[in-house]
């Protein structure tokens, strides 16, 4: 498993939320700065106003200054050169309410009637500063409302906007080669989805074309090969019928004859696999297996006996498989033939069916390849001249019939088990 995969919309929402949060923070800072400047301007104006009032009072009667004037006046000898008024915030106790408040303080120098004074004027700023906090109190709820809105829109969009996309995906996942998987019924006005649809259609068309070409080629190959093979086989048989053959000639003809047979069997077996893959076997019914297996054993015990093999059956009369009748025939035959081929002489082949399984067990040498490769095409025991297609065909039959076939080698026994897919 790689990294956890996020849905496109969730991803978009995360990015969107992140950038919204950043822009909200930036705009809150700007707003706060602006509010500060604005308030300071207001406070400066008020402090200036008060400064004028104090100057006026100093002009009239310097001794009449009181605490209530919110100012401290100190007589100084001279004013520092190039002095600009200094503004600071300070916390003081309000005389009337006895509560701590924030005050804006202006420090400056004035000259009245030839006397120099240093002034510290204060002005209560709580109320105005409250306004600055209000900015945050407003921005936060707006941000929350926006987040909720984003989630809501996301939810609605994923339903409406992405619906065609989801349907296209579903159709693609259902697609099986050789079956119609057209997207025509999915309508979308979204450019990207329409493009996706078109691309998928083109790709599907290409795959189907290739597939049918290959299928036709395989079919033609295996069909058209059979007539020339018939001729070679018949001519060889005719030559072999002659009475005056030299032993060396007979040997060579025999080789030609045997290879021809091998070729033709290979063609037929591959063709059979193609037919199974193309699902050309559609006579699907629920078949009680016991009679089918018995009839196969009946036809094959003689061959088994010639190899000193016994066949023991333990069949459940209730066991059924839902499968094409012809395919069941091939499946049973191939499994039994395989068991006969790979059995030690003088052993017993066991064929069992239970409620939910069909099993063929035979004793033989350990396979020369990993267990899971036993169903591969052209995989076969080295000492055997077989095609190596019988089990590949059995596997293919199970695949198209909703069955599972399992192979194990335990305690010197080859065990093949066929079970329905849903309880495999």
């Amino acid at each position: 498993m790689g990294k956890r995969k996020l849905k496109l919309l969730s991803k978009a929402v995360i990015f969107y939320l992140f950038f919204t949060a950043v822009s909200f923070i930036i705009s809150a800072v700007i707003l706060q700065n602006e509010a500060d400047k604005h308030m300071h301007r207001i406070l400066e104006r008020r402090l200036e106003h008060r400064e004028g009032y104090i100057e006026h009072k100093l002009e009239k009667n310097p001794r009449k200054m009181q605490e209530a004037d919110f100012a401290s006046v100190e007589k100084v000898d001279r004013i520092p050169e190039n002095f600009d008024p200094v503004y600071t915030d300070t916390v003081m106790v309000n005389q009337r309410t006895q509560r701590e408040n924030i005050y804006r303080k202006k420090t400056t120098y004035v000259t009245v009637n030839g006397n120099h004074y240093r002034l510290e004027i204060t002005k209560e700023a709580d109320e105005l500063y409250g306004f600055r906090d209000d900015v945050f109190h407003i921005v936060l709820p707006v941000f929350i409302v926006l987040v909720v809105a984003i989630f809501l829109v996301n939810y609605l969009l994923s339903g409406y906007l992405l619906d065609p996309f989801r349907r296209i995906l579903k159709q693609m996942s259902l697609y099986r080669i050789g079956q119609s998987g057209s997207l025509d019924h999915i309508k979308t006005s979204t450019f990207e989805f329409d493009k996706l649809k078109q691309l998928y259609e083109n790709m599907r068309q290409r795959i189907e074309d290739d597939y049918y070409q290959l299928k036709e080629y395989t079919e033609n190959m295996s069909h058209e090969l059979q007539t020339p093979l018939s001729i070679i086989q018949n001519k060889t048989e005719s030559l072999l019928s002659a009475n005056d053959l030299k032993p060396g000639q007979a040997k060579q003809l025999k080789a030609i004859y045997e290879e021809t047979q091998q070729l033709s069997r290979m063609g037929r077996a591959l063709n059979l696999i193609t037919q199974i893959e193309n699902q050309e076997f559609k006579n699907i019914q629920t078949i009680t297996t016991a009679p089918v297996i018995r009839s196969h054993v009946d036809k094959i015990w003689e061959i088994a006996e010639m190899k000193q093999l016994g066949i023991q059956t333990n069949l459940n009369e209730q066991h059924t498989l839902t499968i094409d009748a012809g395919l069941l025939d091939i499946l049973v035959r191939n499994l039994i033939k395989n068991a006969i081929r790979y059995s030690h002489p003088s052993t017993i082949i066991q064929i069992e069916t239970g409620e939910e399984y069909f099993r063929v067990i035979n004793q033989g040498d350990e396979p020369e390849f990993p267990e899971e490769e036993v169903f591969k095409r052209f995989r076969k025991g080295n000492r055997h001249k077989s095609l190596g297609l019988g089990l590949a065909i059995a596997k293919k039959i199970c695949e198209v019939s909703g069955l599972h076939i399992d192979y194990k080698y335990r305690d010197g026994k080859h065990i093949f088990t066929v079970t329905p897919l849903d309880n495999a």
């Binding site: 295996s222 069909h223 058209e224 090969l225 059979q226 007539t227 093979l229 018939s230 001729i231 070679i232 086989q233 018949n234 001519k235 048989e237 005719s238 072999l240 019928s241 053959l245 032993p247 007979a250 040997k251 003809l253 025999k254 004859y257 021809t260 047979q261 091998q262 033709s264 069997r265 037929r268 063709n271 059979l272 037919q275 050309e280 076997f281 196969h296 036809k299 094959i300 003689e302 061959i303 010639m306 190899k307 012809g326 035959r333 033939k337 006969i340 081929r341 055997h384 001249k385 077989s386 095609l387």
Partner: protein
């Protein structure tokens, strides 16, 4: 007996026709669907051997035409198409038998004989050769009127030989004839020897001649001369 062979491959036509002529059949051939239609319209045949993949169409289409004109004409499909559906369809449409290429000539011969016997025997179901006499209905063999106790396989084997006298029957063709698809082609067919040995023993014990010869280790021949 008159046969029509509908097959487009000239080599195969020569092979089969030569083979069947040797056996005393009158054999004509047609290389296309069109040719075959003409011949069927003009002459009556006892058996039509029909290839399905013809250059100008599907051989299956010929079956209704044959049956309409001469319902008693037997039909044997001989084709490279071994799809189960073709087989079922062919037999459904009224073909008597179905043989896929490549086939053994001996097998074709045995099938032809068996079809013709089923269709035209008319009670005459006895095949005799010298002291051997085979009752096809009862599936019994007598040698000088002495009834042989043959197994099913031995009986089939003898009949296969009698149908294909003086011809090499390869082990493969014998195995396929007796066991069909159940035979594992990869095995050696030495076990056939046991059946042949038993058959020869039973015939000679009843006073019959020894006609079966082994040929180059390839197969066996029923020699009459």
């Amino acid at each position: 007996m008159k046969l029509l062979l509908v097959e487009d491959n000239q080599q195969l036509v020569e092979d089969i026709a030569g083979f069947l002529t040797e056996d005393g059949f009158v054999t004509e051939s047609a290389g296309t669907l069109h040719d075959a239609e003409e011949k069927i319209a003009l002459y009556q045949y006892d058996l039509v051997i029909l290839d399905l993949g013809l250059p100008d169409g599907d051989g299956l289409d010929l079956i209704p035409a044959i049956q309409e004109r001469y319902p008693e004409t037997a039909i044997l499909i001989l084709t490279a198409k071994d799809g189960l559906d073709y087989k079922v369809k062919g037999l459904d449409w009224g073909a008597d038998d179905y043989l896929t290429k490549p086939f053994h000539k001996a097998e074709l011969n045995a099938r032809v004989r068996s079809i013709l016997r089923r269709r035209f025997a008319g009670g005459h179901n006895q095949v005799t050769f010298n002291e051997l006499s085979i009752d096809l209905n009862a599936r019994e063999v007598t040698v000088n009127n002495y009834l042989l106790k043959l197994t099913r396989k031995e009986y089939d084997l003898l009949l296969f030989f009698i149908y294909n006298k003086n011809r090499l029957l390869t082990k493969e063709s014998i195995a396929e004839h007796l066991w069909g698809d159940h035979i594992d082609q990869a095995d050696n067919f030495d076990f056939i020897y046991n059946h042949i040995k038993n058959l020869r023993r039973k015939i000679s014990q009843a006073g019959g001649g020894d006609y079966i010869r082994s040929m180059y280790g390839m197969g066996y021949k029923f020699v009459t001369g």
